[in-house]
Amino acid sequence: MSTTTTPSRAPVSGTAVASRHRKPFLLDLYGTALGKKYAMAMSGIALMGFVLFHMIGNLKMYFGAADLNEYAEFLKKLLYPLAPKESVLWILRLGLLGMLALHLHAAWSLTVLNRQARPVRYQSARDYQEASLASRSMRLSGIVVVLFLAWHLLDLTFGVVNTIGADGEFVRAEVYANVVRSFERWPVALFYVVANLFLGLHLSHGAWSIFQSLGWNNPRFNSWRRAFARGFAAIVVIGNVSFPIAVTVGIVSV
């Protein structure tokens, strides 16, 4: 046995005297786990706003092709003539893309952090008490939503995977026709329904989580936070899912 007089385990002391190297403020904030959670929440709010207004805009579909196409045109002319055509729309698009990128990056780095926080997993089955299907499948539902988004852009924005119109071309401005043509393919309609259910799952946890992450907590409204999240998710999902179904059953058609 060792006869040394100094213990091999060092005593604990001076644990709080080292000063942290500070980066520029926003980077410093984003460098912390809570900072990333704030980023998740803020970008989540932006993306929630997008999905909600996207859904509401698309409800124009039920008023016919003219209304929907006109709405698409309106978006291009936001703040026109004060601002050039499409400029505001592009600002919004870039903003949303930025938010999405932030959301994804934060999610990615937090996932890495969380994996590192438990390098050795439990070797027996866990028996979760509170964690819901939604909270535990955020990564999965997020990935599905991102894949869906890619398909959705290729389908209805770029027309790469859309069927071609009567003139043999994909015309982006013919929003109504493009939607109907796409959803007339039942596997596509089904994919849209399933993907939106994942989106709903994601929202039902995410929209509640925002309050926690940002520390919006007050006994006066705490009981409404979950209801808000579920309600929000339900409205978005019902609205979005109604479109492929409406096309499939023939309520909306060319």
């Binding site: 060792s2 213990p7 385990r9 005593p11 604990v12 001076g14």
Partner: protein, 648 residues
Amino acid sequence: MTMLDNRPAATKLNSKVPSGVLADKWDNFKANAKLVNPNNKRKFKVIVVGTGLAGASAAATLAELGYQVDAFTFHDSPRRAHSIAAQGGINAAKNYRGDGDSVHRLFTDTIKGGDFRSREANVYRLAQVSVNIIDQMVAQGVPFAREYGGLLDNRSFGGAQVSRTFYARGQTGQQLLLGAYQQLSRQIGLGGVRLFNRCELVDVVIIDGRAAGIVVRDLLTGEVTSHAAHAVVLATGGYGNVYFLSTNAMNCNVTAAWRAHRRGAYFANPCYTQIHPTCIPQADETQSKLTLMSESLRNDGRVWVPKNADEQRPAHQIPEEDRDYYLERLYPSYGNLAPRDISSRAAKRLVDKGQGVGPLKNGVFLDFSAAINRLGRNVVEERYGNLFEMYERIAGENPYEVPMRIYPATHYTMGGLWVDYELQTTIPGLYAAGEANFSDHGANRLGASALMQGLADGYFVLPYTISNGLAPLLNKTLPGTDHPEFKRVEAETRDRYRAYVNVKGTRSPDWFHRELGKMIWDYCGMERDRNGLEKAISEIQALHDEFKKDLRVTGSAEGVNQTLEKAGRVDDFFQLGMLMCKDALAREESCGGHFRVEYQTEDGEAQRDDAKFCHVSAWEWTGDAAKSHMHAEALEFETIQLATRSYK
């Protein structure tokens, strides 16, 4: 004084009580104490062993003052110390109620509660600094209970006629300990304290008659190392676990105090142990510890046993005429609120007669059906809801429907290392604080006074007395850990722990602990008598011999080995157990927690013998616990009139 005539031979014990009238003694001490210049404080190293209320508060305060402090705990974190389990509250003579409280009243209550077996000057100082404790703990953020106006709330507690107990729900000990722990943590963070966690003190090193440092065993590696210091503070708690079954935490032990005792520190009044009447009785043979239920339950519960020892009916079917509400019968004026020791002994006698209740017939009923009928279930739930829940969690019975079963259990030890007014043991440079010392509580501690004493010692006494002891040592070289004596003690310790592993007998340390506990409980528990104690000493000796021959510790002396840790602690408990019995045998009177069957009044009350035993029994180690030598410190009462403690 003539009463001194029958006392043992005069001693060299010097309590160093300062001069002056009682109320001025502490101020006089502070006025005359030697100080250490702020720039010189960092030249001194102080070791604090234990991080409970006394240890954590002492370590934090000494570090704030500028001393180098090394704090040791055998827990993983300082926050685990057993102070955390205290429920009721902490006394302080704040007189916030305006109900007639004062420093002097807290002082007299504590002296009387201690059955006139404590040192006046220490108790008075305790009462004086009690008010500072509350201020300090509030400033640190302890969430004491409040009134709606935002001021502090108080409750009343046994042994006092005023409301002076501050509390934080049923978790006062936890909140106070966390306060002290946080203050200690701050000092660790700032570098003022070095924390050695999971390190157990296994010996004290004395060089040239002075405490030179300690030897510790790292519980994670099994490594034995030395640490030198100018002063060593032991704040290592009480020895109630000698009974095996007690309300102490599993790891509470006497080793630190005992090792200091073996190196020359006198051990005072080991027979003063306190039994708490309302604990949940042992449920089965596997039981490892007992749980205390707040004594407040006796305010509304009625205590009874069936008259017939062979009673088979469930409690609610036993008619009134077949029940014996023995406390109401024996002590009509106090009834179910008879003092702790009296109601404990009454329960024991009935259980010994076979009238106990429960599957093992080892408890008495504490029945709330009358209270529920009288007050309604809601009121009872409001008052005791959390206690009822706790009972149900442990006993598996619903106390709203079935009477609770209770039985007394050990939960505090008044005895401990002998210390003088400066909390210094008989070894210069070695201090003892909190439950580890013997001071302040005499033969019986009042409720809500343990937390007070621990914090008083650590925050407001030791920082002053230690500087008085350190000042003369300035610029003197002290022996370092390379001194041969450190090496010798280290080697001795390694041999000791290796020896436990090498006995290779058949019985585990727990088995021996359980057997030892039964003996001490039977012979030196609630009631003691000469025959029993004499028998106990020889039986404990025999069991200890068997322990040395038949112990089995599996695993090795390196790395984590909880069985080995336990073996070392049980070994020391054996020796302490013998000393307890010897002390109980020598004290031929009954006082406070020490009840000798031979010395009782006609109605079964403790009968003190002030002529012969108005003294502290401080025992000197002679190499064999059964042959320890007793020194008496006479207790002089200048202010208090000795009187019979009466609860009639």
